[in-house]
Each structure stands twice: as C-alpha cells, then as structure tokens.
C-alpha cells in the first residue's frame, strides 16, 4: 500500500516535470515565438524577464515547483488573469461533459455487452460487435460535425454549440461517449463470457437457478471487476479526449481554453491546462487502482 502511494508520487513528480521540460527545453525561443520578428529588443527583454526566462533553467524549475505547491501557476499573457483562476472557471464545464459522456457510455455498453455475451455466436453477438467496431473507428472530430449536421441543422432538435441552451449537453456527450461505449461493450462481453464458463456458474445452472439470476446476479458481479479498472483508465482518457470535443462544440471547458491558449501562444495557460488534465488523469487512475484492490479481496493475497 505504502509503496504504491510512493510510486504514484514519483510518477506524479515525473509528469509534473515532463510538462515543465516540454515547455522549456524545446529548441526555439518562446519570446521570439510570442512577439514575432519585428518586436523591439527592449520589449523582448521585458517579456523575457516577466516570464522568468532570463534565469537558469534549474532556478526556473525550482520556482515552478514551489509555485505549484502554492497552486500558483503564473498569469495568462493574454488576459493577465491568474492561470489557476482561469482553470477553475473552466473545470466545471469539462467535468460536466466528461461525466455525461461517461454515464452515457455505461448505459449503452452494459446492455450491449451482456446481450452479446449471453447470445454469443448468434447474429445478436456479431451485430453488437460490429456496432462496437464502428464506434471505435469513428473519429470524434468527424462524428461531432455529423451529429450537428443531422440533429441541429437538418432536424433542428438540438443547439449547434455552447452550453447555455437546454439540450446543449446531448450532442457533445454522445460525441465523446461513443468510443468509450464501444470499448466498454467489448470488455463487458469478453469478461462476462469468461465468467460464464466457470464452474460455479455450472453449479448454479445445475441447481436450477434461472438464467436471468445467473447472468445478472452471479456472473455480472464477478465480471465487473476487470471492467472497473478499464473504467478508471477510460475516465481519465475522456478528460483528455474532451479537448477535441470541446473544440468541435465550442464547449467552454479546459480543453477549449487549452486550444485557444495554443493559438494565442499563451504559454503559462498551455502549461497549466496540460498539467491539470495530466494530473487529473493520473489521480483518477491511481484511485481506481486502489478501489479495485478494495473491491476484490483476491488481489491482496496475490
């Protein structure tokens, strides 16, 4: 337990450092990049010292770490607001979108996966798996515009973008959730199939327990364990995947903030947004890992 927390901490420090060196050690001068060729030398110097780029990299790194501990991520070059404030403003929208996509994926994937596993080998099974393959292969930056075209422009059922109007959550959540639903359905199917072949299921069948109870009570509770791990990993991936979906729907979350900051070359904001998403991803994964261990007593023995 303690070693797991320790390795998580080391990985966390690694991720935090990776973000820093990503922005600072790449060849090319950010000041040049931000101001362009025609800026006055005095302005360059001013920006350089404002960004702290005139100091040695090690000092900058130490500064960055001590800022992190105080949750100080610097200021936006564009709006002058503190980066942490900007991120906090945007975080609820991203969480709302990711949670909606997550729930939607679970609602689609479980019935589909159970259907495929209990009727394995039939056309129901292959149909569900074809659906799942299609879901994995549709890129979300295309699915989004196509859903807008169909439901917003042609049928007029949902808003095109933004998050103020009612129903504006539906299309972004579907866009983000479809690939997760597809992966999850496959996982539920294979995990359930494996459990259905075990001896205790045969015992239950021999006792005359109804097929319904066997699937939903005996088998599914055990089949769910590996699915939990996947869910945790995938929720983190949703946070990252929301960057593209937010861009498609102009959804005012952390992802859209990141893309806008990249276009404005607002490095402190880019750094902060990448850090926030990466750290959330890591934390969710490690929490899932712990949860998994708590749920399944067999793992402690091993």
């Amino acid at each position: 337990m303690l070693t797991r927390v320790m390795t998580s901490l080391i990985t966390l420090i690694g991720v935090v450092s990776l973000v820093f060196f990503l922005i600072h050690l790449i060849p090319g001068d950010p000041v040049e990049y931000i101001l362009g060729d025609s800026a006055r030398p005095a302005d360059r110097e001013a920006l350089r010292s404002e960004l702290g780029l005139d100091r040695p990299v090690i000092i900058q790194y130490a500064d960055y770490l001590s800022g992190l501990v105080r949750l100080d991520l610097g200021h936006s070059l564009h709006s002058r607001q503190p980066v942490s404030e900007l991120l906090l403003e945007r975080l609820p929208a991203t969480l709302k979108l990711s949670l909606a996509a997550f729930l939607l994926a679970i609602l689609i994937a479980f019935p589909l996966g159970v259907l495929a596993a209990t009727r394995s080998g039939t056309s129901w099974d292959s149909g569900a798996m074809v659906l799942s393959l299609l879901g994995v292969s549709i890129p979300n930056f295309w699915l989004g515009p196509m859903l807008i075209l169909l439901f917003s422009l042609w049928l007029g059922l949902t808003p095109v973008s933004g998050m103020e109007q009612p129903g504006s959550l539906i299309l972004p959540a579907v866009t983000l959730g479809v690939s997760l639903a597809a992966i999850l359905a496959r996982m539920v199917r294979s995990s359930l199939l494996e459990v259905l072949n075990e001896d205790y299921i045969r015992t239950a069948r021999a006792k005359g327990v109804s097929e319904q109870v066997i699937v939903w009570k005996h088998a599914l509770s055990n089949a769910l364990l590996p699915v939990i791990t996947l869910l945790g990993l995938q929720f983190g991936a949703l946070l990252a995947g929301s960057v593209i979906t937010e861009k498609v729907f102009s959804w005012p979350g952390v992802g859209l903030l990141l893309i806008d900051a990249i276009q404005q070359r607002d490095y402190p904001v880019v750094q902060g947004a990448v850090l926030l998403i990466a750290v959330s991803y890591l934390v969710v994964n490690r929490l899932t890992d712990l949860l998994y261990r708590a749920v399944d007593p067999r793992i402690k023995v091993a």
């Binding site: 973000v19 196509m146 983190g236």
Partner: protein, 265 residues
C-alpha cells in the same frame, strides 16, 4: 468477408497514393467559378470554399495520411522495440530507470501529450511525426519489455549464453526476432491510431498547414460550411473512417492469425 473488405480498402489507399503522380492532380488549384460547388458530373465530389476540388484534395490527404502513419509507426516501433527489449533483457538499474520512464509516459494521456508537443514544436508534417512518435514508442516498449523478460528464460537463450555469444548478438538474433509477431499486430493497430492522431491534430490546426490538404484539416474547414456545403466535411470523414476501420479489422485478423501460429509452435 471483413478481411476482404479491409484488404481492398487498404490496397486502394496505397495504390491511389502511388498512382497519384500519374493522375496529375492539382489539389491546391483555386477555381473561383466553382466555389462550394456540390458534387456533380463535372466536379465529382464537389469543390470547397476556394473552389478547390474535394476529390483531388482527398487524394492529397491520402498521401499525407500514408506518409505520416508509416513514418510514425516505423520510428516508434523501432525505437520502442529496441528500448523495451534492452530494458527487459538487461534487467537491473537499466530496467528500473526505463520502466519508470515508461510508467511516467503512460501516466500521461497520449493525445494530450501529442497536442502539447505539436503546440510547442510548431505546425508542419515533420513536427507532427515527431510529436506522435514521442507518444507512440511507449506502447511498443512496454510490449517488447514483457516479451524480452519471458524470452530470456527460454532454453535457446541459455544455450546461446553457454556457447559464449555476445549480449548484443543474443538480443539481435535470439530475442528480437521472436517478439515480432505481437509487435506486428500492435503496429497495424498503430496505423489506425496514428491516422486518427494526425487528422485530429490537423483538425485542431496543429498539423498540416494550409494550403496543403489533410483529411483532418478538410473536416475543420468543412465544419464552417456544414449547412451550405455538407459534402466538405462528409467525404474526408468517410475516408478516415474507412481506412481506420480497415486497419483495425486487419489488426484483428492478424492477431487471431498469429496467435494460432503461436499455439502450433
């Protein structure tokens, strides 16, 4: 059935790219009298907001997709396999350090790292390949490490050691050739993943730059004209979807095929 579908699509993709010089296409040619022209006999797949042929731009995008995916998969598979095999085979401190780096890379959502790298490196095809490769090698490394760990216990490796083979030779001749099957499967799924990543980055404006055509940037440009000219976004999406689906099907087929061989051996 699905195997033939995948093979036909992938062959079409490659041959279209190879035959392109013969077709003498002009994907960046602006035609003011054909702005947003819908698909017709004259303009097969219609024209975009600058009157450029969507069909010819799709072909140009096919080339970019092929170039970027093959280059990226080769670079990341090669680097990942070597690093992973070294880590698994050498063990000790080398393994601890490399494993920790792999862990950190895996703790970072891939698409986010690629976006951040592409943003810092600046747009362009070479930077696109670099950004996706930096993310991509980790999967191969993890796979190769696990393979090397189990392969080095095999008798033929002990025999090679007993015969006095050098470490490099053992790795090159006795370990790496045996881990090719799973790596090949990983690489064919890798093609699909890289195409999506390339198109995604280009969609965000971080990849291929105008006027050059990429399937991703075509969708992005088309998204502004969804109501008046839906064909701009529809066709490149279908192209990505078909190729990615085929690469995934091909990977599935390869996996079942190679696993069968494993059992026989």
């Amino acid at each position: 059935m699905s195997r033939w579908f995948a093979t036909v699509i992938l062959l079409c993709w490659v041959s279209v790219v190879l035959l392109q010089p013969l077709l003498q296409t002009t994907p960046n040619q602006i035609q003011l009298d054909a702005i947003l022209a819908p698909p017709s006999m004259e303009y097969w797949l219609g024209n975009d907001a600058l009157g450029r042929s969507v069909g010819e731009r799709l072909l140009a995008g096919a080339e970019i997709a092929l170039l970027v995916s093959v280059a990226t998969v080769m670079i990341s598979a090669l680097a990942g396999t070597l690093i992973g095999a070294l880590s698994g085979y050498a063990g000790g401190m080398t393994d601890v350090v490399i494993s920790r780096i792999i862990d950190i890379m895996l703790a970072f959502p891939g698409i986010l790292l690629a976006i951040a790298l592409a943003a810092v490196l600046g747009p362009g095809i070479d930077n696109l390949v670099i950004a996706i490769s930096v993310v991509g090698w980790v999967g191969y490394a993890r796979l190769a490490r696990a393979q090397a760990l189990s392969l080095k216990q095999r008798e033929h490796v002990s025999a090679a050691i007993a015969l006095g083979s050098r470490q490099g030779r053992i790795l090159r001749r006795h370990i790496i050739p045996l881990m090719l099957a799973p790596l090949l499967v990983e690489a064919s799924f890798g093609i699909a993943a890289v195409i999506v990543a390339e198109a995604g980055l280009s969609f965000l404006g971080l990849g291929v730059q105008p006027p050059q055509a990429s399937w991703g940037s075509m969708i992005r440009e088309g998204a502004d004209f969804l109501l008046v000219a839906p064909h701009l976004a529809i066709f490149p999406g279908i192209a990505i979807f078909l190729v990615v689906l085929s690469a995934n099907l091909f990977g599935d087929w390869l996996r079942s095929r190679l696993d069968v061989r494993d059992e026989v051996a």
